[in-house]
């Protein structure tokens, strides 16, 4: 498991070995089963990541395979992270060591949770993801280089490099690259705007007569 610190500030690039978790519609109950949610901090979540799938596959799950230990990029398929809104899911992935995810598509709440933690989720079309997954399977020791601007992933093995384009929506991309992905301070700073909005919502004053 990784001891890399959680990200802070601008996120431009992520480098490392990759791990593939194949399949569509992998829900957050599978990423972190509910029993691991009985906690008041996120500190110990690495142990629960994919816990039931890993037990079922008895050492053969990609997160248990020796060649993937220390991997920092996760490559998935469609609708990854659907279901429960639990932020424990990206927290568990990050505590295991994941620092970026590439997939065909992501569930919205999951994508937003990842963004708020500085975990970039980039997309690529079906064929690109399959090609990338095949390349990783062929050489799990290869180091991938993922860039956010422009969004690309570079795969180098045996002196040869391949590069694929990725997609990252403009807003989230800008937030990650500028370091403004953890935006609490920004929201709080809009004090007068918050007051103005509150003042025009009639239910906040119990629909008092104007």
């Amino acid at each position: 498991m990784s001891t890399t610190p959680f990200p802070a500030g601008p996120i431009q690039r992520c480098e490392g070995r990759a791990v593939v978790v194949a399949g569509d519609d992998i829900d957050t109950d599978r990423i972190i089963p509910a029993r691991y949610l009985k906690c008041v901090t996120f500190d110990d979540l690495a142990a629960g990541v994919f816990a039931d799938d890993r037990r079922e596959r008895a050492g053969e799950h990609p997160f248990d395979r020796p060649e993937h230990q220390g991997a920092s990029l996760l490559v998935v398929n469609r609708n990854f992270g659907c279901g429960s809104s639990r932020e424990h899911a990206p927290q568990a992935l990050m505590r295991w060591g994941i620092r970026a995810v590439i997939g065909e598509s992501f569930a919205e709440i999951f994508f937003g949770n990842c963004l708020a933690l500085g975990l970039p989720c980039l997309t690529a079309d079906h064929d690109t993801v399959l090609a990338l997954q095949a390349a990783i399977a062929a050489d799990p020791s290869a180091v991938l280089q993922l860039d956010l601007e422009p969004a690309t992933v570079r795969f180098s093995a045996g002196g040869k490099a391949r590069q694929w384009p990725l997609t990252l929506a403009e807003g989230p991309g800008r937030m990650l690259v500028s370091g403004e992905w953890n935006g609490t301070a920004q929201l709080v700073a809009h004090d007068s705007e918050l007051r103005a909005t509150a003042a025009r919502l009639p239910y906040l004053s119990g629909f008092a007569a104007a």
């Binding site: 429960s84 809104s85 709440i109 609490t184 119990g206």
Partner: protein, 480 residues
């Protein structure tokens, strides 16, 4: 697009600022919290040295981890006890109202906020729980958020959000007797898929939707997220206003008229533009049961488990995974599949009208031998109202256990769970692998009345055959 829709109007009313990243800062009118997704948010707030900006706009309850047999403190499970104690401490420290156990107002967060009149049309509602879409039944824009966003709402009463597109789901006709809002939404998800709603808010409209009671609308919107739509809503109308009138937090006196005027003006008008539109016929929907491992893997109770040929090519790997996990073969009729556990409850179907519909089928019948069956009311108010009508006695006489309110066997965070390969007939909302607490346990989703039909038959059964006289739909405004 989406101009003139309720979604668009509510969005504009709550827009605080445009953020540099391209997102909108959106004011949150009602923030609901519970014990699972809030402790880390409060800790993060402390780390940042921030306080809660509008403690009066956040309301807390406890639901996921509470036992449904004995709710005496301290709980037998020390982790559950620690989570509740942490919530109590955070609420006390920040001046947040907590509807705790025994208060008469505790229950599943998505059950209590509507019944207290906290959820109102035109609000933005956020909660660290994906089924927050439930509150859209009132014409609110309601969505689930993660813990970092819970922190943001506590700190600023606002969130950074991207605007969704709006798909109108127009439902013609009327539901048959024995077919409920649960069947309708399982049918919609079956047709549009579990990913179909990603990027969309679902506006449910049309004659069949207008005919639904508020509780049925909550069931419908509750599962919008299972179709990938982060929020679902129904435009507010006379049914909505009748439900709200007189509730503890609803406007009263002169303010009531002003509220109704504001709410009415927010509904999508005839000029509304939708990004997409889909039409369904309610009369064509049968009681629907899931056979697989996503809520989209549903079929009519009179159908058979689909073959690979009947499945879209890109869904086939998932279909094969579902055959293996569920141990069901393609072509098997779903009716007749034996069940071990029957669960009635959850934020989808744990309200008074759900219990009434279930009790109507249970009355005069008995749970089949070897089946464990239990009913978990969605809140203390639901429990009290059901007991006042004698529904608890009907269930007990039929061999069901009658429990204390909570999330119970919807997910595995309290003592209620499946064991080993057990298969449940469940009125909850998720049939994911392991969802109900056993890594190999299996879940068949269906309406509460269908759960009773399964319980008394010992296997999946068509509730329409057990309902003799057509029942008149209950307006179900849950007033006991």
């Amino acid at each position: 697009m989406s101009a003139g829709t309720l979604y668009d109007k509510v969005w504009e009313q709550h827009r605080v600022a445009d953020l540099p990243g391209g997102a909108t800062q959106l004011f949150i009118g009602l923030h609901l919290i519970h014990e699972v997704t809030s402790p880390q948010a409060f800790a993060a707030l402390d780390d940042l040295g921030l306080s809660v900006r509008h403690p009066e706009r956040t309301v807390a309850t406890v639901d996921h981890i509470v036992p449904t047999t004995s709710q005496a403190r301290p709980f037998a499970d020390p982790l559950a006890e620690e989570m509740l104690a942490t919530l109590e401490g955070n609420c006390a420290r920040h001046g947040i109202t907590l509807h705790g156990l025994g208060s008469g107002r505790q229950g599943i967060v998505h059950v209590i906020a509507p019944e207290l009149g906290l959820t109102q049309p035109g609000m933005t509602v956020a909660c660290g729980d994906s089924h927050t879409s439930t509150h859209g039944a009132f014409g609110a824009i309601a969505f689930g958020i993660g813990t970092s966003q819970v922190r943001d709402v506590l700190a600023s009463q606002s969130l950074a959000m991207g605007k969704l597109k709006v798909r109108r789901i127009w439902v013609e006709g009327a539901l048959q007797t024995g077919v409920y809002a649960k069947d309708l939404v399982l049918h919609v998800i079956r047709r549009l898929g579990v990913k179909g709603g990603v990027g969309y808010a679902y506006e449910f409209a049309g004659p069949a939707i207008e005919a639904l009671s508020m509780e049925e609308r909550m069931t419908l919107c509750n599962m919008a997220i299972e179709g990938g739509a982060r929020c679902g809503y129904v435009n507010p109308d006379a049914v909505t206003f009748a439900y709200l009138k007189g509730r503890p937090h609803a406007p009263a006196g002169d303010a009531w008229e002003r509220a109704v005027a504001w709410w009415s003006a927010l509904a999508s008008g005839p000029e509304a533009v939708f990004d997409d539109e889909v039409v369904f016929d309610a009369a064509a929907i049968a009681p629907t049961v899931t056979w697989g491992i996503t809520p989209g893997q549903g079929i009519g109770v009179d159908e058979t488990v689909p073959t690979l040929e009947q499945t879209e090519a890109d869904e086939r790997p998932l279909t094969e995974e579902a055959y293996r996990y569920m141990d069901l073969r393609p072509g098997t009729p779903i009716e007749g599949v034996p069940v071990d556990v029957c669960f009635i409850g959850s934020c989808t179907n744990g309200r008074l009208s759900d219990l009434r519909a279930a009790a109507a089928v249970a009355r005069g019948r008995h749970v089949a031998a070897g089946i464990k069956a239990f009913v978990v009311p969605g809140s203390e108010q639901v429990a009290a109202a059901a007991e006042a009508e004698g529904l608890d006695a009907v269930f007990r006489a039929a061999g069901f256990e009658w429990r204390e309110p909570g999330c119970s066997m919807c997910l595995a965070m309290n003592p209620d769970r499946l064991e080993g390969r057990q298969i449940s007939a469940s009125s909850s909302n998720r049939n994911f692998k392991g969802r109900q607490g056993s890594a190999t346990g299996r879940t068949l989703l269906m309406s509460p009345a269908m759960v009773v039909a399964a319980a008394v038959s010992g296997h999946v059964a068509d509730v329409r055959r057990l309902i003799t006289a057509p029942t008149t739909p209950d307006p179900a405004t849950t007033r006991a």
